[in-house]
Symmetry: C2
Subunit: 196 residues, 2 copies
Amino acid sequence: MEAELDELVQALRCLPGVGAKSARRMALHLLERDREGARRLSRAVDEAVARIGHCSVCRTLTSAETCSRCADPERDSRVVCVVESPGDVLAIESATDFGGRFHVLLGRLSPLDGIGPEELGLDRLEARLQAEGVEELILATNTSVEGEVTAHYLAEMAARHGIRTTRIAQGIPSGGELEYIDAGTLAHALSGRREY
Amino acid sequence: MEAELDELVQALRCLPGVGAKSARRMALHLLERDREGARRLSRAVDEAVARIGHCSVCRTLTSAETCSRCADPERDSRVVCVVESPGDVLAIESATDFGGRFHVLLGRLSPLDGIGPEELGLDRLEARLQAEGVEELILATNTSVEGEVTAHYLAEMAARHGIRTTRIAQGIPSGGELEYIDAGTLAHALSGRREY
Ligand SMILES: [Zn+2]
Ligand SMILES: [Zn+2]
């Protein structure tokens, strides 16, 4: 195979769920049928990698110092929903009418992997709890073992500041990844949250 | 959603088989977990689009004037295998020990879509038949209606030059796309080719 084509096929395999056959199919599609789409893809990847970093307040992905949700004065800062990843924020936003604020951990507590409170920057969340008049912390970490451990740790942190915590309802299948749950189940889980 | 992230998700949807959910998942994966992979992908797409064109002899994808197969003096130029797309060349090369030459139509005859012999550059194939001492033309177009019509047209062209034609065996499911057939079926179909 030509070197540039081979490299394109290999590079496409960094995408999740793309094996050798799909990568070859994608590469040939781009070169034979959609070179304009290919150029657009390359530009979009470059722009995103160069500009998108993490919000200084909630740590979700954004190209600004502060993301659009944190900058929006209409959102209720008394309720903060804690999730593991930026994808969880997008999933909750598109599935529910949650109008509060978010905090993204960019991971979960996992002592065996050396991921503790410092690695997740939980001091920043604690500073928000003190500074922003938070009254309810919604624990929307995944229902995996690490997600539950993380939720437990966050509940203790909130308790020290006299803040109420809720946990999204266990309608989500055990061990499931929040980001890929269907909208109905997710909406149900958020509205059915209970005291933690 | 942030503009750059939204644009990346949209751009990823130009890939075949990638819907809204997969595109979002891919974009978040690149930004959260594999920025080096993202940069490599962008570079590979740019390089491939800038450098890869069509072989001046057989019309497959290549970054050179003449592809590596046409430039290889070891390949038997008395046997030419005609396929519809560069992906078919790769499929046959990886599934069989065919050691002859290829010709890529970059399409198939489809009068209803205004694709005739000129659009497929069949004059170039005819020139090869005359110039290269071809003794057998293997018709490996797809088994779709258009593929069969194309094979029939090519057989008549070869007959005018006194060249024997064979058709790859119909072990391939009717209407199937050659490019995505499993290796065993494809190898069987090539070795079982018969007089056309
Ligand atoms: Zn933010
Ligand atoms: Zn060639």
